[in-house]
């Protein structure tokens, strides 16, 4: 459950933001999660929602944007989508580091992110009025 550590870090950042902006209510946070991470959307959302109950950011929505992986190869100058391996048991293709161009080892250039992209907020009085 490393999602819990990640959700805790996220909440800490948002509380920090809320404390510095006492006149604003956070309504949504958008997070980018890359394909090469091993972070599960549903678990991250569950951890987030569990942590924020009773907090000033309670009720805020976590939106997860999945970022597809991209690899680059120094052997053949390929750059683009990774080769997918369908050998995994649950049938979900797994992004690999085998270069789709030449079969040598490629490196990840995109898809390792786990980052807050943006925070959406509104003035408290509006938030209270539409609650």
């Amino acid at each position: 459950m490393h999602e819990f550590s990640i959700a805790s870090g996220l909440v800490e950042k948002l509380l920090d933001f809320a404390e510095k902006n006492p006149d604003k209510k956070i309504v949504e946070v958008r997070v980018a999660i890359g394909e090469f991470t091993q972070i599960e959307d549903e678990q991250l959302r569950f951890c987030y929602e569990s942590i924020i109950t009773e907090m000033p950011i309670a009720g805020s929505r976590l939106t997860i944007e999945s970022v597809l992986g991209r690899v680059a190869c120094s052997h053949c100058s390929y750059s683009g989508a990774p080769k997918y391996w369908d050998g995994a048991l649950h049938g979900l293709p797994i992004a690999t580091l085998e270069c789709p161009g030449c079969g040598n080892a490629a490196r990840v250039i995109e898809g390792e992110e786990c980052a807050i992209r943006s925070v959406r907020f509104m003035p408290n009085e509006i938030a209270r009025a539409i609650a």
């Binding site: 550590s5 091993q38 050998g87 786990c114 992209r117 509104m122 938030a127």
Partner: protein
Amino acid sequence: MAELGAPQVMLEASPDEIYDIELEHSLLEANAKLATENRALLDQSGITAIDFMGAIGSGKTTLITKLVGMLKDKIGVAVFNGDATTSNDADAISKQNVPVVQIATINGCHLDANLVGKGLKKIDLGNLKMIFIENIGNLICPAEFPLGSKARVVVVSVTEGPWMVRKHPHMFLGSQVVVINKIDLAGAMEVSVDQLIADVHALKPDIKVIPTSCKTGAGLNEVAETLLAV
């Protein structure tokens, strides 16, 4: 007249009352920064740290104990043992008379760079050349948390069945060495070591794979040589 159940007054925040700010803040950054600091301290001290990851029972502790036994008369070696609760593994390795740091994560599922950094402050780095870090027995969570080691080793064993690599692909992508352990039991387990090697290479063609048996000693010299050369 308003429809049944619909509110009489609708008040919506207009677009100019909703604000978006771009933050671009990495959630893994805090750990990554500490890992970089650990690495700088290790490099400055002339120490190579190796992080061992793998399932409970894959043989991480036994492998590390064997490696310590082979290396301790030649170079200064220390071991960090991550465990959720017990100190069983640290106690076992302590018999080798090398510095051992027990890191209890108290049910945490992975070691992180902060815990390893604290461990580095507890021992005398002066005479050390190598630190083996045994991560928590878990093939998922540690992948996201670099510790500052120079190489990450995944230990799988044939007793875990034929699908270990396919079931936990991410762990291998970020590692440099894979040890396939307990090969003396491959026949009894009816697990193909060659298939496990092929699975690893399907994920990452340039990863070093070393089949071992801590019982017969097969492959252990190659592991030691590989880790000394990283």
